[in-house]
Amino acid sequence: MSGTSYDVIIIGSGPGGYVTAIRAAQLGLKTAIVEREHLGGICLNWGCIPTKALLRSAEILDHANHAKSYGLKLEGKMTADVKDVVARSRGVSARLNGGVAFLMKKNKIDVIWGEAKLTKPGEISVGKSTKPVVEPQNPVPKGVKGEGTYTAKHVIVATGARPRALPGIEPDGKLIWTYFEAMKPDVMPKSLVVMGSGAIGIEFASFYRSMGAEVTVVEVMPQVMPVEDAEISAFARKQLEKRGLKILTEAKVAKVEKGANSVTAHVETKDGKVEKITADRLISAVGVQGNIEGLGLEALGVKTDRGCIVIDGYGKTNVPGIYAIGDVAGPPMLAHKAEHEGVICIEKIAGVPGVHPMEKGRIPGCTYCNPQVASVGLTEAKAKEQGRDIRVGRYSFAANGKAIALGEDQGLIKTIFDKKTGELIGAHMVGAEVTELIQGFVVAMNLETTEEELMHTIFPHPTLSEMMKESVLDAYGRVLNA
């Protein structure tokens, strides 16, 4: 039975699952991973990565449209070819998808292809996959194991999440899209309603706006990107509106009427009126929900709560031998959170000393709309809500040499410190390339630096990163270039 018996089986090969598998293999555990559709999961095939490819096309188009302001002249007009933009995005996914297959092989991790179901603790049965491979993705990798019964001392559920649907506004794949359809449009819609302004909604809104569509974003909360700091969100909103996005907050899509090739959204605004917005397509981006169904969790008594598996700080469920990590184990539903949760889980299983539960206050979040938004830790409102005495520093892109030289002088970096201890408890950014900047503060938080070490850190000149230091200095009334 050695062929079908493992130390650990991971169900789902998204960023959480496959990283956990590699770490397990590094720790000397006999490891298998089950996948039914595409190695790399949503992140790599239908989420984080292909959207970044689309947004890169949008960014280049935006730059080209502003060529004049850089003293450059573009003869004729630059236009997007939707087919090629999508093909490039799919190609990026396909390349990485093949990369995961290579990593599994390199680490001697068995890939089992099909639908997994927990039959009892330590045993899964794998049935035929119900999901077809979507072209132009790579076909099912060679050498995978198939249907059958497999046993493992530890089973880690890493099945991720899928788009949530609102009753009455269920995505139909034609007029009402989820991110799946929005990722590979066959024609560029001329107008669009985006329902929900979280990271997914606002990124697609930004992309389609760059591609020339009239976009209306409808958000029930008072601000776009509701989890972000209110000041940063307001700043981003102003920039997005400047780019021609229409944003309705405290508004709700109550009803959608479908036409032959259009939809009409009935939007209830905060003053109680109903606005009818007709557009080519509607994107439903009202959040995601965990994939907890069909895994046999109920029969085994695995505890779930609001569509997610309940775990402790080490990924353990209430049933011994069954673990969960990533989106299926609850928010924040982010690939990097899933990866780290998986590493903690497997290291705990392997008995690596010094493993601690994740510090959830130190998980960064990035949104790649134009302008970009990035953050880590507490927002100003949350910090105050917790009764913390704080110092807040701000620094504007308009005063940074590199930002001005780049022609990207609209942005803000905000830092929040605990007044008494000098602990950096939050950092929030909006503007060009901030998604690449935030890690500096994440490292600082993890090393538990205080304002003092940050002030003594030499940031290179001229860079956008200098604004990070200025923001810290500002929190202590010592800002230099402002």
Binding site: Q26, L27, G28, E347, G351, V352, P353, G354, V355, H356, K420, T421, G422, E423, L447, E448, T449, T450, E452, E453
Partner: protein, 463 residues
């Protein structure tokens, strides 16, 4: 690439050990299973076996080196066809051991604050075998570097905590915010001046927080100041001493001890013992198959008493009471430089001769420090007997997670009153220390009563 021989973890909790002795030298050929070195852990000396075969290329950690971290490379083994030249790269590589090869190493926290304080983290190999370490410098606050995050340092300073007294849970034992938060909660590391105030402030919380304020005693520098230099010799602590100090301090500070003393008449037991020993079958050299001691019978009686009063065979945890199904009796054995408590497992189910012979074996190996960790870790109670020194009665410190320990005094002839008349009897006083969280007074008394019944009616131990 030469094979790295790593410092083994001889028990799940082992973080470091002393490399006591090399049994091979550079150039020796070893094959799998050969004993190559002896490692001294908290309480035992263990043998390290070679896993691979080859020639010992280089010994990187000299014998006598203390505090060698688990998974540190201690020697390099050359495979067939390799010569000394291949050592260079490997020796360099282990300055920063590749994570893939020793995944546990980089994460292994140097938990013991002792190691952080008195043993700087210089690679052990760099330190030549120096059996007599320099006496601890009467360093004040500015001793060796303490690894702590900036935030942890600031929090400790603001709350008046001594970082040296806090153990770090971060990478490589770095003290991080959560450790300071933890210390604040438990009261560890409060600086001298603040202690009384802090302790008073803690009182209301003490009931629900068993880890209440623990004054950490006098600092080394304060103690040294009281003695003239040269009027003493500093004997470095070995791991056993450190473990004894740590565990017993912890026990007295966290376990509410409660004591019960009872006198047991021994005459019947002594008579039975003599009878049993006389009847022991002898082998061809005339050596008896067993020779029972009073202590063997005490072990058995204590185990049977625990079976009769099962609620007393328990361990306290915050989450719930562990009520043990077997009576595993630890027996304190004094050995050179300290003591150790090997365990007679399921003593309630064993015959007196089995207990006696097992005890002889365990005590013998304890004295030569050859016990395996599983032979002295765990147990549900212990017995400490100082009767052979003429001690009449004493109270022992509980060895957590046990809830009880039985301190046994000498059996001696005493005047007793029987049926209204003075008589002579051999009497032994025993004192049970109980963890009052787990074993209340009446329950402990019930246990002692059962124990006395067995001792005074020893035949009942045979059925």
């Amino acid at each position: 690439m030469p094979i790295k021989i790593l410092m083994p973890a001889l028990s799940p909790t082992m973080e470091e050990g002393n490399l006591a002795r090399w049994l091979v030298k550079e150039g020796d050929t070893v094959s799998s299973g050969d004993v190559i070195a002896e490692i001294e852990t908290d309480k035992a000396t263990m043998e390290v076996e070679a896993v691979d075969e080859g020639k010992v290329g280089k010994i990187l950690v000299a014998e006598g080196t203390e505090g060698v971290k688990v998974n540190e490379v201690i020697a390099l083994l050359l495979e067939e066809g390799e010569d000394a030249s291949s050592l260079d790269g490997a020796a360099k590589a282990d300055a920063a051991p590749a994570e893939a090869e020793a995944p546990a190493k980089s994460e292994a926290p140097a938990k013991s604050e002792a190691s952080a304080k008195s043993e700087p983290s210089t690679p052990a190999a760099a330190e030549p075998a120096a059996p007599a370490k320099a006496p601890p410098a009467p360093a004040g606050d500015k001793g060796e570097r303490i690894f702590a995050s900036p935030l942890a340092r600031r929090l400790a300073a603001q709350d008046g905590l001594d970082l040296a007294a806090i153990s770090g849970s971060g990478p490589h034992g770095r003290i991080v915010k959560r450790d300071v938060d933890e210390a604040l909660k438990s009261g560890t590391g409060r600086k001298g001046a603040d202690a009384p105030k802090a302790a008073a402030a803690d009182k209301p919380a003490a009931a629900e927080a068993p880890k209440a304020a623990a004054p950490s005693g006098m600092a080394d520098s304060q103690v040294l100041k009281l003695f003239e230099e040269g009027s003493y010799e500093v004997v470095p602590h070995d791991n056993m001493r450190k473990t004894i100090a740590k565990r017993l301090t912890e026990s007295k500070q966290t376990v509410p001890h409660f004591y019960l003393t009872v006198d047991c008449e021994l005459d019947a037991l002594l008579a039975l013992r003599a009878q049993l020993n006389d009847a022991a079958p002898k082998d061809k050299d005339g050596k008896p198959a067993y020779k029972l001691s009073v202590n063997d019978m005490v072990i058995k009686a204590h185990a049977l008493a625990l079976k009769a009063v099962p609620a007393a065979n328990a361990s306290w945890t915050d989450g719930g009471m562990l009520v043990h199904k077997h009576a595993d009796v630890g027996v304190a054995v004094a050995i050179e430089g300290g003591l150790i408590t090997p365990i007679i497992r399921r003593a309630d189910e064993k015959t007196l001769s089995a207990i006696s012979n097992e005890m002889k074996d365990l005590a013998g190996r304890a004295r030569s420090r050859k016990l395996q960790p599983q032979e002295y870790q765990g147990g549900t109670t212990s017995v400490s007997n100082l009767g052979m020194f003429g001690i009449k009665d004493f109270a022992a410190v509980i060895n957590p997670p046990h809830a009880t320990i039985l301190a046994v005094g000498a059996g001696e002839q005493r005047a007793v009153v029987k049926n209204g008349a003075l008589a002579i009897a051999t009497v032994m006083s025993v004192t049970l220390s109980t963890d009052h969280r787990a074993v209340d007074g009446a329950l402990g008394a019930e246990l002692m009563s059962a124990f006395r019944q067995l001792i005074e009616n020893p035949m009942s131990m045979l059925v």
